[in-house]
């Protein structure tokens, strides 16, 4: 009798809202960043080993796929930093009202894209 009781649906049916989206994205970007940092470390080590490696890495990062990875990492780091600041403010006990969490969540989401574009433009000597 006990064992055959079904489990009611949870994540399949629960509606997403800004705060839960920011929370799950914070985790995902965290994992991406760890992988990203490891990748950057390996590439830097590789650079030391010779000039041919440099041209190869240069070629890779100028390809479409390479650019996608770089921009993706820039976004992921931007998101993580903004979301972490949000977390720090919350750890101090502020910003728990529903309207405020929605607003700060939106700032994190839009801010991360804004940061990405800004960093891209700075990198291209746009300013």
């Amino acid at each position: 009798m006990e064992d055959k009781k079904p489990l009611s649906p949870h994540i399949q049916i629960y509606r997403w809202h800004i705060s839960s989206l920011v929370s799950i994205s914070h985790r995902i970007t965290g994992i991406i960043n760890i992988i990203g940092i490891t990748l950057i470390c390996f590439l830097s080590c590789w650079l030391i080993l010779g000039e041919t490696n440099y041209t190869l890495i240069n070629f890779f990062f100028n390809s479409f796929f390479g650019k996608f990875i770089v921009l993706g990492l820039v976004w992921s780091f931007s998101f993580q930093i903004l979301s972490e600041i949000r977390h720090l403010i919350m750890d101090m006990g502020y910003g728990f009202e529903l309207q405020t969490t929605r607003l700060t969540g939106l700032i994190v989401i839009f801010g991360s894209f804004l940061f990405t574009v800004a960093i891209y433009l700075i990198g291209r000597n746009f300013f």
Binding site: M1, L7, S8, I13, Y14, M90, D91, G93, L98
Partner: protein, 259 residues
């Protein structure tokens, strides 16, 4: 580790379709989670066409209408119908709330009604809350005062009394705890927002002498710190309380006080 998908015996199938018999022009489709413990079948979603011209404003009114006029086999908890008892907590339109205070006009399109998420289902919309009540018991939700005799009054200033506002109003409907993904994945160890809000309520009560012991008791990696401020709890609370903030306050007390 979190199990995202449902176990085999919990997968939801398509159920029966109850066509409207009143001939009304104002029809709404209501999809309700059903499970009958007397059969070996999986849970199913039954769809009811409900005449909205003769239906009061809340989701509970729809359920009453279905039970009284269409399908008497539907089972759900309800009692006061005024948002005080917390019996009719369920998931409506993808969000937890009390059926008796949730206006159906706030939900767009067809209305999906499920039991509270990630609970063992006893029947239809009735979830098993035993685990939550055990956890509630574990925080010892009663006044512990050693200094005064049972017969004397314990005074409390207005300021100290005000600290309980936003915590004592909780009706333990479990909308918050069952909306929390952390509670879904670690419900056996993590206390969850409802119980932690009550823990907070006794920690800040000036008449209670066990503040330190209470704080020590919840200061646990799993019991307390599984809260990752997802804030599903606060957005679900039908009484407009803020369990997430209460949990943050407990964390703050633990970080700043010498416990």
């Amino acid at each position: 580790m979190a199990q995202i998908s449902l176990p085999k015996n919990s997968e939801v199938n398509k159920g029966k379709y109850f066509k409207d018999k009143t001939g009304s022009k104002n029809i709404r489709k209501i999809n309700v989670y059903r499970w009958d413990p007397s059969t070996e079948e999986n849970p199913r979603i039954d769809t009811y066409e409900v005449d909205m011209d003769n239906c009061p404003s809340k989701v509970l009114d729809i359920l009453n209408k279905i039970k009284n006029e269409i399908d008497p086999t539907l089972a759900y908890r309800r009692s006061c119908a005024h948002g005080v008892c917390g019996s009719c907590a369920m998931n409506m339109g993808g969000k937890n709330g009390l059926a008796c205070t949730k206006p159906h006009s706030e939900i767009d399109g067809d209305i999906d009604i499920y039991p509270l998420p990630h609970l063992k289902v006893k029947r239809d919309l009735i979830g098993d809350l035993d685990g939550l009540y055990k956890q509630y018991e574990s925080i010892e939700p009663w006044l512990k005062n050693n200094s005064t005799k049972e017969t004397t009054e314990i005074f409390q200033s207005k300021e100290d009394r005000a600290k309980l506002d936003g915590a004592y109003e909780c009706i333990m409907c479990a909308c918050c705890s069952t909306s929390c993904p952390s509670y879904w994945w670690n419900g056996d160890k993590y206390l969850g927002p409802a119980v932690l809000l009550q823990a907070y309520r006794w920690i800040v009560d000036s008449r209670d002498d066990e503040r330190k012991a209470r704080l020590k008791k919840v200061a646990d990696e799993l019991k307390l710190y599984r809260c990752h401020t997802i804030l599903n709890c606060t957005s679900a609370c039908p009484k407009g309380l803020n369990p997430a903030k209460a949990i943050a306050e407990i964390k703050k007390m633990l970080a700043t006080a010498n416990v």
